[in-house]
Amino acid sequence: MTKVTMTVNGKSVSAEAEGRTLLVDYLRGGLGLTGTHVGCDTSQCGACVVHVDGKAVKACTVFAMDVMGAEVRTIEGMANADGSLGLVQQAFQDHHGLQCGFCTPGMVMTTAALLAENPRPTEAQVRHGLEGNICRCTGYHNIVKAVLAASGQDADAIAAE
């Protein structure tokens, strides 16, 4: 066991980890940040997406030790400073972009990274950008609308085209 230190949601944190401890297990088990989920173990479903130094990363495929010292952001760090839902989170609620909620943290984190890179994506770019995140509940319709809305576009009009 080694003490692994990093910055998570703006706070310096440290917890014990083995060499084989994955970032997702470090966040969930070590820090109690259970908003990041494990859906598949093979980097396919995206329920575990977090940001590491601003980039979307699947936390089930990264060793905690490999991101020692990094800036990590999780779903718990996505709300506004006053506790209200952040822009992407609010868009998901407004457009019913979630049902069971299990894939949702990963969807929100992927969306935030996607919009940081491409602030006004087309529908096709949104769908492509979400390719690494599986949702079994929504059929993606309202997730895609939520992402378009979060980018300031008229999601209803685009969906009706």
Partner: protein, 792 residues
């Protein structure tokens, strides 16, 4: 102006806030003091005799606390089938014991025969691998193919079942001769053999269970990923473990999707309880995704021959089917109901077809158990009917829209008794068909087809008119059909002293939005603010005995119970108000949250009545108990019958065979709609799964019973770029006639109606593109299959 609150409003979901901020609490999110970790040891062969398990190999490994094998559970009961089905010769079905851990034989890859409990998950996993290596299993030939299994009596999944047949069911056997005669007399008989592909439900949250035992009281607690905590408790207590029901609390906290796969009781739940008792510590288990693929109950897996007798004009005269249904290695809880009473009873579809006979043979194989998955039997029925109707249109040169109109039941025919035992209460199938035609712009198809052709793509359009039976289910009827349980539901409405309300419901929300929708109904009925209503679900210690959520039953059954309980609250409130207002009870009216004396301005608010019930200083104590809390159990009089019309458009790439679903339109009749936003979301999700079944998903075992599609690297889940925006409509509403809310259920519709629309569209595209020899392609219509069909 649409409502923003109450019944019919698209109220935003209150549960979203915790899910969007990472504050949902799913089973695996719980961390308990002193917890130990279980890892299951699973068979790597499909069929084998367990020769030896050398537990000494792991007992001294670091952190190992206990090892369990099938031997530890050989004296407890088995996990039962919930429905007892008789074969058509009257003999009862064969129900082999399904043990907590495999004992003697392993029967599918992933069949758990041992479990290791250790201080940490990593230690348990290390030890499980060592134990697997220290186990000797004599491999036997695997039984994978259903028809071969039924034909070959020499190799048996269960030694005591000679032909691997669970039952051979006829529905309705007494009608068989008449159906045969009608088929013989029919001017045309259209025949189609098809496969309804095996699917893995794939709720995004893998199954997980935590067992606790409290030696001071002898109480157990199970926290688990369940759609129905009371049913799980009943199965564990009455059938498997023999724990008195009052000594086991089952909690299903936030659950990350179910789609049927979390209805059932699984061996891991009993294992963690037994381990917790032996160790005196909480014991937790969470499936890896590959374990989910190997051990969750799968769905569908039918091979069907359907025959349709008709006139030259396309009037359907008779339908006859023979189906082989795979139940896998063991009978999961609903596995015998799914291919029979959730399938055979739907085989008349929405049509006025006089003669229908259904034969289903259920077969044991060395594969994972198969059970109800979103739609459960009804997608299989709908797919068979809608594909053969489409084939009839092509063979006889008829218009598929006109043929539907000729055959659909008309509104004046309800209530309508089908030849397969159901009574449809209401519907307007022409209206949904017309609405779908309008919304899909069928008139503009030719122009779109030409535009696709200009880009080198073959475009096709497919139609499906579907019906289902849900709101499961009337107890008297399912009892006659072999169910071991009743299928009512229950609600307790507790008005708190300060006027806020707690509703304890037997339904379980794992994505459906009950925490938002149920308060909309309560608030409207009581004339209060929805924010003062809390929904309590998922904990047997808190809720009345209810049967959980599946079969699109939450609103139609549990919601009706809630409605009845509220009526009782209002009735009692009137008594209290009559006393307080010094009026006759019959003169009290209740509206907009106020109890009033009719014709006067004398009134008491709901809050005042609640307060009086709990502080009964001015109260008719001699004739009325204090308190304001009512429970209602609701047993539906009939199934509900949602129906609709779906139109799909696809583009097929002639060079690669790749199918793209480019448009999908749904016009549904769900009766009254409580929250349109949520209803539309349910349809989107169902259609997404239906497109997945039709185009992408295939659960593939090789000849040795190895699952080739055991992870998301191999099993093609629908992703955001595999589906289009959907057009959904539910304006053609005929309210259910027999439940108080007039609701029908919307959870499964999309998955039921969509697969045949997709496949019909693909065949249409190929036919229009000149590949007229292609009459059928089995699902999933993968590029390989489509290319092979085009180039055959």
């Amino acid at each position: 102006m649409p409502k923003d609150t109450g019944i019919g409003a698209s109220t935003k979901r209150r549960e979203d806030v915790r899910f969007l901020t990472g504050r949902g609490v799913y089973t695996d999110d719980l961390s308990l003091f002193g917890q130990a970790h279980a890892v299951m040891v699973r068979s790597t062969v499909a069929h084998g005799r367990i020769v030896s398990i050398d537990t000494s190999a792991v007992e001294s490994m670091p952190g190992v606390l206990a090892v369990f094998t099938g031997e530890d559970f050989k004296d407890v009961g088995g996990n039962p089938a919930g429905w007892l089905i008789n074969s058509r010769d009257g003999t009862p079905m064969r129900e082999p014991k399904r043990p907590v851990l495999a004992h003697g034989k392993v029967r599918h890859v992933g069949d758990a025969y041992a479990a290791v409990i250790a201080e940490s998950y990593a230690q348990a996993k290390d030890a499980a691998q060592v134990l697997s290596d220290a186990t000797v299993i004599e491999e036997l030939p695997a039984i994978v193919d259903m028809k071969a299994a039924a034909a070959d009596a020499s190799n048996r999944v269960h030694d005591e079942i000679p032909d691997n047949i669970c039952f051979d069911w006829g529905w309705i056997e007494d009608n068989r001769a008449a159906v045969d005669a009608a088929m013989k007399a029919a001017p045309h008989v259209i025949t189609l053999e098809l496969t309804n592909n095996r699917l893995v439900p794939n709720a995004m949250e893998p199954r997980a269970s935590i067992g606790e035992y409290f030696p001071g009281t002898g109480d157990y607690k199970l926290t688990t990923t369940s759609q129905n905590p009371h049913l799980t408790r009943l199965l564990i207590c009455a059938f498997v473990m023999g724990i008195p029901e009052n000594k086991l609390q089952v909690v299903a906290p936030d659950v990350g999707g179910g789609f049927g796969s979390k209805i059932y009781h699984y061996g891991e739940e009993a294992l963690v309880l037994a381990a917790a008792k032996r160790l005196g510590r909480p014991v937790r288990w969470t499936a890896e995704r590959t374990e989910s693929f190997l051990s969750d109950a799968h769905g569908r897996d039918h091979v069907t021959k359907i025959e349709l007798g008709c006139t030259a004009q396309g009037d359907i005269l008779a339908i006859r089917t023979e189906t082989y249904a795979n139940v896998g290695a063991y009978l999961s809880n609903f596995s015998t109901a799914t291919p029979t009473f959730l399938h055979g009873t739907l085989m008349a579809g929405p049509y006025k077809v006089p003669h229908v006979y259904v034969n289903v043979k259920t077969v044991f194989t060395n594969t994972a158990p198969v059970d109800a998955y979103r739609g459960a039997g009804r997608p299989e029925a709908t797919y068979s009917i809608e594909r053969v109707v489409d084939k009839m249109c092509r063979e006889l040169g008829l218009d598929p829209f006109e043929v539907r109109r000729r055959n659909l039941l008309t509104p004046d025919q309800f209530p309508y008794t089908t030849p397969v035992g159901l009574v449809y209460d209401t519907g307007n199938y022409q209206a949904t068909l017309d609405k779908a035609v309008e919304l899909a712009d069928v008139a503009g198809f030719e122009a779109r087809r030409a535009e696709s052709a200009a880009r080198g793509k073959l475009r096709g359009m497919g139609l499906s008119t579907w019906i289902e039976a849900c709101g499961i289910a009337p107890s008297h009827l399912v009892g006659v059909l072999g169910a071991r349980v009743g299928l009512y539901d229950a609600a307790t409405v507790r008005v708190n002293a300060t006027g806020t309300i707690s509703v304890m419901t037997g339904a379980h929300s794992h994505g459906q939005g009950h925490e938002t929708v149920f308060p909309q109904i309560v608030a409207e009925k009581l004339g209060i603010d929805a924010s003062s209503v809390e929904i309590v679900h998922g904990d047997t210690a808190k809720i009345p005995f209810g049967m959980g959520s599946y079969g699109s039953r939450s609103l139609a059954v549990a919601g009706s119970a809630m409605d009845r309980a509220i009526d009782k609250i209002i009735a009692k409130g009137k008594k209290i108000a009559a006393h307080m207002l010094e009026a006759a009870e019959g003169d009290i009216t209740f509206a907009d949250g106020k109890f009033s004396v009719a014709g006067t301005d004398k009134a008491k608010t709901f809050g005042e009545i609640a307060f009086s019930a709990y502080v009964p200083h001015n109260y008719p104590l001699e004739t009325l108990e204090p308190g304001l809390e009512e429970t209602a159990f609701y047993d539906p009089a009939n199934f509900t019958y949602p129906a609709g019309a779906y139109i799909c458009e696809v583009e097929v790439d002639e060079g690669t065979g790749k199918v793209d679903v480019v448009a999908f339109t749904c016009a549904d009749d769900f009766g009254n709609v409580m929250n349109p936003m949520i209803v539309e979301g349910q349809v989107h999700g169902g259609v997404g799964q239906g497109i997945g079944q039709a185009v992408l998903e295939s659960t593939t075992y090789d000849d040795t019973g190895q699952l080739l599609t055991g992870s998301y690297m191999d099993y093609a889940m629908p992703r955001a770029d595999d589906v289009p925006f959907y057009t959904v409509d539910h304006s053609c509403s005929t309210p259910c006639t027999h439940n108080p809310l007039g609701v029908k259920g919307c959870g499964e519709a999309g998955a039921i109606g969509s697969p045949p629309a997709v496949v019909n569209a693909v065949i249409d595209a190929l036919q229009r593109g000149g590949h007229t020899h292609v009459k059928h392609i089995d699902m999933p219509v993968s590029p390989n299959r489509v290319w092979q069909a085009m180039n055959a």
